[in-house]
């Protein structure tokens, strides 16, 4: 029998890591991720989890230790947030380029300066182009599920690429809600033991992480790019099989009440659940609005995304970070680009909100829907608008 227990997302992640029976955890605590390594360290100390817990001195060391662990074929987990991910950055690129499968949970946090421990997506957007498979959880159950799924697909011999599971700092990491924990034998049925085909072995020497001169570096990057794109089929198959076994089905682009919708709102992560309440209220008033949520961020699900928005007149994208000097939000920029060559495409309107833990309540999503439709109809002098900013904003425009 599965159990229904009250857990914050951090502890749900720790349960998933325990049930995945990982071999090595190397992590450095940082707000708002702290409860994840704290709980895992406790599990290892109490004998609930037989794993090596490496208490490293920094995030750079954490991920470096993980590289070594995967190199010998260990199932490996790490987790960080905000500044920790920034300090780890160099090694983030190394892990994916060496095709070392592991799962890393990011409890998404704003970046300094000014110092903020609260949530937004600036941290993950700074590693957007590092070649990791990147997904977003909307609630605590999904945080649990995506960690299990993450190990399954990352370690697949056709993928061998690390998976980053994003969950919003505090909004998920520290909020308790009901989570269904499956039986261990069901988890074992979904997640086979990790067999890394290139594990270091003194009887069969090999070189990992060799130097590449200009005459081969290009080829290494193309091979990595093709592999990341080809992984998508396996990611989707993993979600299909997860759904068959656990009864919860995930998709790269998730749709909510989009039937006949003229206006679509696009969100990622925990924004999605609040947005659903607002969409419900508007639908009840007869408004033709719907919600599109990006679960899979990399590799970007172009086909599913274009299919999802092709009938809409207006697409309102709500970003949780700024791409300074660019289009506005990185998600909006991506989405506009994805639609550029489509013969029929909605007007795309860009909003930024929820920076550095600024609350996004139902009324704020209502504002985004109303103002978004107004901008779509009449245009705006600004490239994007910011939800709840104090003071009239001008000067965010093409120069």
């Amino acid at each position: 029998m599965s159990r229904r227990v009250a857990l914050e997302a951090s502890h749900a992640v720790a349960e998933a890591v325990r049930m995945a029976d990982v071999d090595v955890i190397a992590a450095y605590p940082i707000t708002p991720q702290t409860h994840i390594p704290e709980r895992l360290a406790e599990m290892v100390a109490d004998g609930e989890l037989s794993a090596a817990y490496i208490p490293v001195e920094s995030e750079h060391s954490a991920l470096s230790a993980c590289l070594g662990a995967v190199a010998v074929g260990a199932r490996t987990f790490t987790t960080t947030a905000g500044q920790g991910l920034e300090l780890m950055h160099e090694v983030v690129y190394v892990a994916s380029s060496m095709r070392y499968p592991m799962v890393m949970v990011i409890a998404n946090r704003a970046l300094s300066a000014p110092l903020s421990v609260w949530g937004d997506h600036s941290d993950v957007m700074s590693v957007r182009d590092t070649g990791w498979i990147q997904v977003f959880a909307q609630n605590n159950q999904e945080a649990f599920d995506l960690v299990l799924w993450g190990f399954r697909v990352a370690e697949d011999s056709r993928v061998l690429t690390p998976v980053m599971v994003n969950l919003d700092g505090f909004t998920l990491s520290h909020v308790t809600e009901a989570v269904i924990l499956p039986e261990q034998d069901v988890v074992n049925g979904f997640l086979p033991p990790f067999h890394y085909p290139f594990a270091l072995n003194p009887d069969k020497p090999a070189t990992h992480g060799a130097f590449a001169a200009p005459d081969i570096y290009t080829e290494t990057k193309i091979s990595q790019e093709v592999a990341l794109r080809k992984s998508k089929d396996i990611l989707l198959q993993g979600w299909q099989e997860f759904g068959d076994m656990f009864g919860r089905r995930y998709y790269p682009v998730e749709l909510y009440r989009v039937e006949g919708a003229k206006t679509l709102l696009l969100t990622m992560g925990s924004f999605t659940e609040t947005a659903k309440m607002v969409i419900d209220a508007r639908r009840d008033r007869g408004e033709l609005v719907g919600l599109v949520s990006l679960r899979l961020w990399r590799p970007f699900p172009f086909t599913e995304f274009r299919q999802a928005v092709k009938e809409a007149d207006t697409l309102i994208v709500l970003d949780r970070s700024i791409s300074f000097g660019g289009q506005g939000g990185p998600v909006c920029s991506e989405v506009r680009s994805a639609l550029f060559s489509e013969p029929k495409r909605p007007v795309v309107v860009s909003f930024v909100g929820g920076l550095g833990g600024r609350d996004m309540a139902e009324k704020d999503f209502g504002y985004v829907l109303d103002r978004g439709r107004e901008v779509a109809a009449k245009g705006s002098a600004e490239l994007f608008e910011t939800v709840g900013v104090c003071g009239e904003v001008s000067g965010i425009r093409d120069l």
Binding site: S97, M98, R99, Y100, L160, P197, F198, P205, A206, T207, H208, A210, A212, D215, I216, T218, E219, T220, I222, S223, V226, A227
Partner: protein
């Protein structure tokens, strides 16, 4: 010479499964000068072999020395350390 690899030839994560195959890689192709050895002057002291930073000096069957141009970068250290003037002389590479 190692054959030119395409992106499809690369192992997952660019892992090298044949250790030591860097020896197949030509590293002497940007040389501007090369050493020429004269056996009539050489005393077989081996200082050139000892000092070469790239192990590009080889010992011949008769105990004399010569250069392996597959690796030699033309630094001239062998000529500089040679105690017998004229046994090793650096000459300019010519465009072929």
């Amino acid at each position: 010479m190692a054959k030119k690899l395409t992106w499809r030839d690369l192992e997952v994560g660019n892992i090298v499964t044949e250790p030591g195959n860097s020896a197949e890689r030509s590293t002497g192709d940007w040389r501007t000068e090369r050493p020429v050895f004269d056996k009539s002057i050489c005393i077989k002291c081996g200082l050139c072999w000892l000092h070469c930073p790239d192990s590009a000096i080889k010992i011949l069957d008769d105990g004399y020395y010569d250069v392996d141009l597959f690796y030699c970068k033309g630094c001239g250290i062998c000529e500089s350390v040679c105690p017998k003037k004229g046994a090793i002389v650096m000459v300019e590479e010519e465009e072929k």
